[in-house]
Symmetry: C2
Subunit: 434 residues, 2 copies
C-alpha cells in the first residue's frame, strides 16, 4: 500500500470558488483520500512520501478526448498544404508505410509529450491498437482506445474484428486504466450497413463509439448529396446514437443537429487548433455548451496541430470562441472544466477529472513561480491564458508518479526520440525511392 501526501496550492475543479492556497491532498494507492486546506489530512494518515510543492498548483490531469497518437511520426512532415494534397500526397502514403512497431514507437513518443505537457488520459483512434495498448500500459497513463474503422475500405471487416478483439483483450485492463471503444471513422467513410453493424457490436459488448462528425463543410455537402441529411441527422436516423458516443470535431452543425446531440447525450471532442490549422472552421462550442452538450478538448493528431499540448489547446479554444462570439465567451474556468471534468464525462469516466475523495489520483502540478504567472490575480486565467506545456512539474496517474521535476519515470525519452526519428526517416526514404 502506498500513501502519498502533496502540499501545494490546490485547484480541485469541483467548482469555480473552490481553491486551497495552502492545500493538502492525500493519496492511497490509486485513489484520492482527502483534499483540503492545510491540516485537513485524515487522522492516522501516515504518508510514505511527502511532496512539498508550495509554489505549485495541483489540478486534475488534462484529458485529451481526440487524438491519433502515432501520428507524431508525421510531425512536420507536411504542413501549410491544401487539404486534399496534404492527405493524398503526404499523409496517406506515409501512413501506408507504418508498421506495427512504428505505431508502437510513435505512440510512445506521443505519450512522452503528453506526460510532459500534463495530459494523463487520451482517447485514441488509429490502427495496430494492440501496440498502442502495450505502449499505454508501459507509460502508465490512462487511455480509451478505438480502432479506426474505414468501413468503405477493403479492410473494413478485418478492422472491425480487430476492434472486437481489442475489447476482449484490453477493456478494463491495467487496473482499469485502459478501456476500449469502437472507432468508425466518419459517416462519409462508412456505409449505413457498416455503421449499423458497428453499433450492434458496441451494444453487445457494452462499449462506446468514437467517430469524426461534421469536421468540414465538404463532409456536410457529401452527406447532403448522398442522403439528403446532415451528418448528425444521418447518424441519428441510422440509430448510431443512444449509447455512449464521442463525436469528434462537430464544426459544421445546424441548430437541429445541436438539439439531436443534446437529446441523444452525444459528447463532443473539440479540436480548436486542428480546426484552425486545416481551415475547417470554428465549432459552435458556446452554443453546444449553453444547450447542455458535454464538450471535451482534443489535440487531434500531430500532423494537424502539430503538438499534443492541451495547455495550448485550452488557450486556442477560448481565443477561437471569443473571436467568433465575443470577449466573454469560454471564460478561463470553463475551459479548464472542458479539459478536465468535461473530458472525463466525454470519455465516460465517473471517477476521473476532479480532485475529490474516492476519485482516481490522476493529477498534475504546475510550477507557478515564474514570471508569466505573476501577479497571482487568477490561477484559472493564468493556467489558460499564460501557461505553457513546459510549466508542468509533476504528473501522477492512478496514484503512480509518471513525472517528477520534469523527468519521465516510466519511459526512456532519449531512446524513444531516437527510435521515432529513425523510423520516420526510414519511411521518408522509402517514399522518396518509390
Amino acid at each position: 500500500m502506498s500513501k502519498i501526501l502533496i502540499r501545494a496550492m490546490i485547484l480541485p475543479m469541483t467548482g469555480a470558488d473552490t481553491f486551497f492556497p495552502q492545500g493538502e491532498i492525500c493519496i492511497e494507492d490509486d485513489l484520492i483520500v482527502s483534499v483540503g486546506e492545510k491540516g485537513s489530512s485524515p487522522e492516522g494518515f501516515v504518508p510514505d512520501r511527502i511532496l512539498e510543492l508550495p509554489n505549485d498548483v495541483v489540478m486534475p490531469g488534462l484529458i485529451n478526448t481526440h487524438t491519433h497518437a502515432a501520428m507524431t511520426l508525421l510531425r512536420g512532415y507536411a504542413d501549410d498544404l491544401p487539404l486534399m494534397p496534404w492527405l493524398n500526397e503526404k499523409v496517406w502514403p506515409f501512413e501506408d508505410k507504418l508498421t506495427d512497431e512504428d505505431i508502437y514507437w510513435g505512440t510512445l513518443l506521443a505519450l512522452c509529450e503528453m506526460i510532459r505537457s500534463g495530459t494523463t488520459t487520451m482517447l485514441d483512434m488509429y490502427a495496430s491498437m494492440d501496440k498502442v495498448a502495450e505502449a499505454v500500459l508501459q507509460a502508465g497513463t490512462r487511455a480509451v482506445l478505438s480502432r479506426g474503422l474505414i468501413g468503405n475500405g477493403p479492410n473494413g471487416e478485418n478492422a472491425l474484428q480487430e476492434n472486437i478483439e481489442l475489447v476482449r483483450q484490453y477493456h478494463g485492463t491495467g487496473n482499469g486504466r485502459l478501456s476500449i471503444m469502437f472507432g468508425p471513422h466518419a459517416p462519409y467513410t462508412c456505409s449505413a450497413e457498416y455503421l449499423k453493424k458497428v453499433k450492434a457490436e458496441a451494444d453487445r459488448l457494452n462499449v462506446g463509439i468514437h467517430i469524426h462528425v461534421a469536421e468540414t463543410q465538404d463532409e456536410v455537402n457529401i452527406l447532403k448529396e448522398q442522403y439528403g441529411k446532415t451528418p448528425v441527422q444521418w447518424l441519428d436516423e441510422l440509430g448510431l446514437f443512444g449509447g455512449h458516443v464521442v463525436a469528434a470535431h462537430c464544426v459544421h452543425l445546424t441548430q437541429q443537429d445541436i438539439e439531436i446531440l443534446h437529446r441523444q447525450n452525444v459528447c463532443v471532442a473539440h479540436n480548436a487548433e486542428s480546426n484552425m490549422k486545416l481551415s475547417s472552421g470554428t465549432a459552435p462550442i458556446t452554443e453546444l455548451r449553453s444547450q447542455g452538450v458535454v464538450v471535451g478538448l482534443g489535440t487531434d493528431g500531430a500532423s494537424s496541430n502539430n503538438n499534443l499540448d492541451l495547455f495550448g489547446e485550452m488557450r486556442s479554444a477560448s481565443f477561437q470562441q471569443k473571436l467568433k462570439v465575443n470577449p466573454t465567451a469560454l471564460p478561463a474556468y470553463e475551459v479548464l472544466e472542458m479539459a478536465t471534468v468535461g473530458g472525463a464525462q466525454t470519455l465516460g469516466f465517473e471517477n476521473v477529472g476532479v480532485l475529490a475523495p474516492g476519485f482516481k489520483a490522476d493529477l498534475i502540478t504546475i510550477d507557478m513561480d515564474q514570471a508569466h504567472f505573476y501577479p497571482r490575480f487568477s490561477i484559472p486565467a493564468h493556467l489558460v491564458y499564460s501557461a505553457h506545456a513546459g510549466d508542468v512539474r509533476t504528473v501522477m496517474v492512478d496514484g503512480k508518479l509518471l513525472m517528477e521535476e520534469r523527468k519521465l519515470l516510466t519511459l526512456d525519452l532519449s531512446k524513444i526520440c531516437q527510435e521515432a526519428e529513425m523510423r520516420a526517416k526510414r519511411i521518408e526514404l522509402e517514399l522518396n525511392v518509390k
Copy 2:
C-alpha cells in the same frame, strides 16, 4: 574584446533554404563575425568562450513590435469581460494607481518573461518611459520606446514633452540598444491638431511614430462618423504617414487602406492573440503581405493576451490566418520571418533580425532534444507549430548573454516577481478600499 563561438544547428533567417545542421557562429563584442557550417570560422578567430549546443537551433532573437510591458502588473486581473467594462471598470482605474516605480517593476517583470521566451527586442508604448528605459538598460535587451500620448486627455501636452525629453535623453543609448519613437495613442484619442504637432516633432527629431490603427470596428465607425474617413485614410490625409510609422493592429482595413499603407511604407504590428481574446477580429495579414506591406508580430499588453510569448503568437498568427483564408496561409517560414527580420524592418533596424556577418549578435537557442520536436522533418514547422516559450535555452543581445540554461543573468527573477506581486496587490487593495 569578447569572442564567443557557438556550435549548434543554425537557422539564420536569411532565406528559406539556408540551414546549417552542424553550424558555427562567431561573435566579437556586439557583432556577428561569421555564420556557416562546421569549419567556417575565420582563421585566427580564437574564442574566449565556446558554447557547444549540438541539439539546439540558433536563430535571431524574436522581436515584439507592439506591447505595453508594464501591463504585466494587470495579468489575470480582468479577463473574459466585454471591452468597455473591461477598460472602464478594471484596466483604467488600475492604471490610474500605477506609480513610476510600479511601472519600473512591471517592465522588469515583462523583460524577465520576454528573455525567458526568446524575445530580445520590443517596441513599447506606456507612461513613465524613463523608468522603462532604465529597466531595459538594466536587463540588457534591445527596445524602442514610445510615450503613449492621449492627445485628447488633460495630459496631452505634458506627455508630448515627456516624449521629446525621452528622445533627447535615451535615443541611441546603451550602445544603440535603446531608441525612441513618438507614441500618439490612436486617431480617435488624438485630435488632428495634436497629431500634426506630434508628426512635426517626430520629423524635427528624426524619429518614428508608433500608433494604434483600426483595432476595432468601433474605432472605424467613430472615425467615419467624425471625419467621413477610415482611420488609415484620415491619418494619411493628416500627413502622419511618410516617415517611419508603426501601425499597431490594423484589423479593419479596406483595400484602399492597404494601398495607402503600402504606398506610404507604413509597417504593421500584428497582434493575433490580443485580437482574438478581445474579439477585435482577424487582421488581413495575408493581403497586407501579398501587397508588400512589412508586418511584424506583437503580443500587446499582458492584460489582453495574457503572456508575452512570441512562440505562442507565431502559432496563433498562422492559425488565425489559416482559419480565415485557407490551410496554405502564413506558412511556418513566413511566420518566422515576421517574428525576426520582419520585426526588425518594422522597427527600422538595418542590422538586427537575421544572423549574418556585420549584424548585431541578438540571438536565441532552442533546445530541440524534446519529444515535441521529433521527428526532425522541418525545423521551421517545429518552431512555429510545436515549440513553446519554455524551449528557449540561451538568449544573447548585443553580444552579451542574458540567459544561459534558462537562468537569467542580468535580472533577479525572484526579487522582481515578489515586487510585482506586492505592487499589484497594493493597487487591488487601494481600489477595493475606495
